[in-house]
Amino acid sequence: MTAIDWGVFGLYLFGVMAFALWQSRRNEGVEGFFLGNRRMPWWAIGLSVMATQASAITLIGTTGQGYTDGMRFVQTYLPLPFAMIVLSVVFVPFFYRAKLYTAYEYLEKRFDPKTRTLTSMLFLIGRAMGTGVIMYAPAIVLSTILGWDEVVTISIMAVVTIAYTVTGGITAVIWTDVVQMLMMFLGIGLAIVFMISGLPDGVGVADAAYIGGVQQMWNAIDFSWDPKSRYTIWSGLIGGTFLFLSYFGADQSQVQRYLTADSERDSRLSLIFNGFMKVPMQIAILGIGVLMFAFYHFEQPPIVFNDAEVRVVMESDRAQEFEDLSVTFAEAHAERRATVMEILDARDAGPVPPALEQTLAAQDEELLGLRDDAKAIVADVRGAESNDTNYIFPTYLTEYFPIGLVGLMIATIFAAAMSSIDSELTALSSATVIDFYRRWFVRDATDGHYLWASRLATLFWGLVAWGFALRAGQGGSLIELVNQVGSLVYGSILGGFLLAFGVKRAHGTPAFIGILCGFGTILYIYYTTDIGWLWWNPIGVGVVMGVGTLLSYVMTPPSEPARA
């Protein structure tokens, strides 16, 4: 990065801190810290909902996915508008009218304390480690691309985010999320504009789309029932519906957002806003990946995008083999570029001869094969599988973006990470203080006492996430494990809420047993089968609903309802 880029990046960090502190002046007491005194406008909450879901991995991982796998990942997001309607109609009235601090409080009001405690604990387990990953995953990519030490990158992200979250609470979080989400929109827009303008003279968007089409990159909808296919319209619509109901309806990091609205109307509107915006945003992000795929038909891409992996190989005894492969890759790229130029000439004259299209498809496959061979060498040398998907977009940015905008785009990636981390910290803190500290340990302290307990809890979880992120690199499989822990708990928690909303006869102990059974079933599936994670949520919900409903009819309900 140049000095100008550093200046832009520094300005972002300073600006976001100053803005958060300025916004936090309006906080009063624990309700101000966790719920912004319930006076946030719907559009700010809506942007915060989007920013919380869109982490840095969304920005760098999804573009990379678009480059390697086309548009198919978008199918996971298709049920989101419909899920927002269900949440707005069913969940928001229950949560908002009960005047809650956390979603799990509702389960004590409806069932009993142990069900609330269990679901809140499941949330804390899933989210605590996940927050460390949200911090670690982009940091390792940015460190490699920018040549920074991982510790520095993680620490900048952690210190700034923890500082403004501890000081400003949810008010600072939501308003910085607004700024950070607008930065993401700007970054996505700029990426598309510069990618198109970076195409050679005479090559337009239609030509780039055509090149992607030859390699079937516009595979946005897959109607097949093939269970081996990770993303189909069916797994997207069914699994995605449960995923979004779980995430937006049972995860405190999202529920807390729409509890800050000053009316039920605004709570609903924030979700509706998300329903309108999210799918187009994902289409745009994946589209950047496909555009990059087309762009790298004219400019030679690295054979492996992760420089750190390449350096390790070049110091090993397979360096010469890797070097030879790189030369072959460069030659194959030059041949493919020639074919592309010929096809574009043919397109100007009329229909492209099918033989030319077949040639391009074959050359794409050849280059993919060479890349796979290179990655196999990396995997062999490192003793761990090579995955450079997350490095594709940052590599493109640093090599082809103009001075100044590189700094802005790196700031945008930081913004994406920080806007998720801050929301997770306030959610973890609210569950800790409201569902555990105030519920079980100190029940009648002053508002000021709980406010300081909330700040300390936020600091504690911030330090836990920071510490986890710093140590995450010591175990490669840890990341995968932690990501899956989040998915393990969602279905069971959602099942508990659906039981509460939908089964009038349901009561405490059956709900508690049902949630435990749901969680146990998903653990069993995780350890013994290869069923895809998108299916874990509907299965978890099904088990909780089934067991909870059945036992509610078999077991006698308590004569006195449990009260919060």
Binding site: M71, L78, F82, I85, A209, A338, P561
Partner: protein, 74 residues
């Protein structure tokens, strides 16, 4: 079972309408549902029109380049 306020969970709950161009919650939900369907149809259109069925690829890419485009410089 509980002392919770009873939410009147109805799609047509117009006690506090959304405002703007939408006169009722039902109209905004309908608009959002239509938007969801439009997104799906748009993606189906993208998939069916932008992807190119190139048929069977030739066995050897280099040979194919030569066969189909002899004028291309080596």
């Amino acid at each position: 079972m509980s002392d919770l306020p009873e939410p009147e969970v109805r799609p047509g709950d117009d006690v506090d309408p959304p405002g703007g161009p939408w006169k009722s919650w039902k109209s905004i939900y309908t608009t959002l549902a239509i938007w969801g369907v439009v997104c799906i149809l748009f993606l189906i259109w993208i998939t069916s029109t932008l992807n190119i069925d190139v048929g069977e690829a030739p066995m050897d890419a280099e040979a194919a380049v030569t066969a189909s485009a002899p004028e291309v410089a080596p």
